[in-house]
């Protein structure tokens, strides 16, 4: 048991570092490790992963709040969709067969790796909206942020709110079902559908992940899916790893890390799929 605890701390630190550098919640890294390498029942892996997502999100949002990058209005408005999705997802896991969870997770990993390739290919394309969306205006979602790299304040407008809301419901459902933060979906909802710039999208997604995960976490907590000797050392490791990772990130070119990570993600995704069939 002590061996497991130490192993979990190490996995947590690794997932925290990798998560912070790659901008992924720790969940998408931890679940495959626990199920494929540690042979843990996917039900418990998902329970542990929910805790990991909350640790990642709560740890990193502190930094983002000071940077004023995140958009609290967008976050809370879209949380309506993600929390409802997350609660439904968490309840569905009790009904769904584990093999479907593996397949879903595998597909999600493949999707994330394609999404990373997409980001690598068009990294400078900016498709900011200049439309005046009446709904966005009514909800006061338009905002601005200070871009440190470009050294200026960037104003942005938000559009296609119904589209964003529906993707967010899906993101919430996936995160409730699989215990992940579904950061990739959240960023896509904001930057592709609602045309928000990438930096506020990922900062806002990070805040949202924790709230979404909290909506399903209590369901897992009370139904006994959260094993203390797995989740506690993982969460502590993640808190350390995420702090280290955010420091390392400032020195490393994220592009090269992504290039190395895509095949790994792809490989793990395939393995999960195979395990499902």
């Amino acid at each position: 048991m002590i061996g497991t605890v130490l192993l979990m701390i190490v996995i947590g630190i690794f997932a925290g570092i990798a998560g912070a550098i790659l901008g992924l919640g720790g969940g998408i890294i931890v679940t495959p490790i626990l199920t494929l390498a540690c042979n843990l029942d996917i039900k418990y892996a998902i329970g542990a992963s929910v805790v990991v997502v909350i640790a990642t999100s709560s740890g990193s949002t502190i930094a983002y709040l000071k940077d004023e990058v995140l958009n609290l209005r967008v976050a809370m408005f879209l949380e309506i969709a993600t929390t409802i999705g997350a609660v439904s997802g968490a309840l569905l896991t009790g009904i769904l067969k584990p093999q479907y969870l593996y397949i879903l997770f595998g597909l999600l990993l493949l999707f994330s790796s394609f999404n990373m390739i997409r980001k690598l290919l068009n990294k400078n394309s900016s498709n900011l909206s200049h439309k005046n969306d009446p709904l966005a205006e009514k909800l006061r979602l338009n905002s601005s942020y200070y871009d440190k790299a470009e050294n200026k304040k960037i104003d942005y407008q938000v559009e296609n709110i119904p589209g964003g809301l529906s993707v967010m419901f899906g993101a919430g459902l996936a995160s409730g079902l699989l215990g992940i933060g579904s950061g990739a979906f959240k960023v896509i909802a904001m930057d592709t559908f609602m045309k928000m710039p990438l930096k506020p999208s990922s900062a806002t997604s990070n805040l949202m992940m924790g709230v979404t995960a909290a909506a399903s976490a209590t369901v897992y907590f009370f139904n006994g899916s959260i094993l203390p000797y797995i989740a506690v050392p993982l969460a502590l490791g993640i808190l350390v790893g995420a702090t280290l990772g955010s420091r390392i990130m400032q020195r490393l070119p994220a592009r090269w890390i992504r290039i190395c990570f895509v095949p790994v993600l792809f490989y793990i995704g395939l393995n999960m799929l195979i395990k499902g069939f």
């Binding site: 048991m1 002590i2 605890v5 805790v51 909350i54 640790a55 999100s57 709560s58 740890g59 949002t61 502190i62 709040l65 000071k66 004023e68 609290l72 209005r73 809370m76 408005f77 949380e79 309506i80 929390t83 409802i84 997350a86 609660v87 968490a90 309840l91 909800l139 006061r140 805040l207 924790g210 709230v211 995960a213 909290a214 909506a215 399903s216 976490a217 209590t218 369901v219 897992y220 907590f221 009370f222 139904n223 006994g224 959260i226 094993l227 203390p228 000797y229 989740a231 506690v232 050392p233 969460a235 502590l236 808190l239």
Partner: protein, 123 residues
Amino acid sequence: MNNSKQTTKEEMNQIELVIGKILRIGVIISATIMMIGLLIFILTGKSGYSGNYHPSSFKEIFTGVTQLKSYAIMMVGIFCLILTPVLRVIVSIYSFYKEHDMLYVYITTFVLLVLIFSFFLGQ
């Protein structure tokens, strides 16, 4: 619409800093409780329960904590960590209220209600 502009940038910065601090305290408290539980578990080598069993209801966890059972303390730490995003939502309601942004006070309160609903659903 005009109400939100009455709040100055500095006031908002102030509120954001307070939110940041509250969150940090929440994370530190839950990490400390988790660490205490983990240390007791490692030092005594006992979970306080037989086999792989772990407590998952409030009543069991509470009685376990009074008996200093390591798994019970670890579960309290996890529960506190789960509450940190909820804490963030509560603080956000306050900050929107400070901005006189009633629409977002309602929206965020709704999110809080879903979280509370999920809480009772789980039990």
